[in-house]
């Protein structure tokens, strides 16, 4: 079973153009707005070790916050960054992202690979948590 997410798209523009739009805070205003009224705040310090942050969500609500730290910046070919998504409910998920921009006859093929979703090892931790859930359930059952 795979815990990676992989997506591919081809754009009718040069890799430089797609690369720049991909990380441009102004472009994020549109890219991260799942609905037209969503509030998006983005900053991007494009260099190895630099931060790229995007807060996004519906107006009036607590936004989700994505904090990315660049590990590879190879314009216009490749981006690698560690990504932490802090959800409004307080949960966090850490993933690593690799984005490649390949030129194909004047167009750009963009590939996104995101890894680090809970792995089978994480499942073992969950299994540990399971025992304590079972203990609590048993206490409830016994009390009934």
């Amino acid at each position: 079973m795979s815990f990676d997410l992989r997506l591919e798209r081809t754009y009718d523009a040069a890799p430089e153009v797609v690369f720049d739009a991909f990380i441009d805070p102004e472009a994020q205003q549109e890219l991260y707005a799942d609905a037209p009224d969503w509030i998006v705040e983005a900053t991007c310090d494009l260099r190895v070790g630099g931060r790229w942050t995007i807060a996004f969500g519906p107006p009036g609500g607590t936004p989700a916050r994505e904090t990315n730290v660049f590990q590879v910046v190879d314009r216009p070919r490749r981006l690698v960054y560690a990504s932490t998504m802090a959800m409004p409910d307080g949960s966090n998920i850490d993933t690593s992202m690799e984005v490649t921009f390949e030129e194909e006859a004047g167009r750009t093929r963009l590939t996104i690979v995101q890894h680090g979703f809970p792995t089978p090892e994480r499942r073992e931790e969950f299994a540990g948590g399971w025992s304590s859930i079972l203990d609590r359930l048993l206490r409830v059952v016994v009390a009934q």
Binding site: R9, T95, L110, F117, A127, L134
Partner: protein, 111 residues
């Protein structure tokens, strides 16, 4: 919201000591039906009946590997991971579509 029918199933599945032992054993790692049967004075069909009840309550998942049936604890934690991936996929698909329209819109400005 509490789903009482699910709770009922869970509690009734947990009300039996043999089934609780099975879960305790599986909390330490997956096992086959015969491995699960070993510590009990119980026939395989008898054990299988308990496993079925646990399965119906989503507390246990079984998979057939050739002639043996492997059991492990319920998949809810795993489902969480898959839910995350689906959520991300959904977001990324939206973003990548909007990137196309963003690039289209800004084409004129660049040329």
């Amino acid at each position: 919201m509490v789903r009482y029918s699910v709770l009922d199933r869970t509690f009734s599945a947990l009300s039996d000591p043999t089934r609780r032992h099975i879960l305790e054993r599986l909390a330490r790692g997956p096992a086959t039906i015969s491995e699960l049967a070993q510590p009990f004075d119980i026939t395989l069909p008898g054990l299988l009946k308990h496993v079925r009840i646990l399965e119906e309550a989503d507390l246990v998942v079984t998979e057939k590997h050739g002639r043996t049936r492997q059991c492990r604890l319920g998949t809810e934690p795993l489902d969480d991971a898959e839910q995350w991936i689906q959520t991300y996929r959904h977001h990324w698909e939206g973003r990548l579509d909007r990137l196309a329209s963003y690039l289209d819109k800004h084409k004129g400005a660049r040329r």
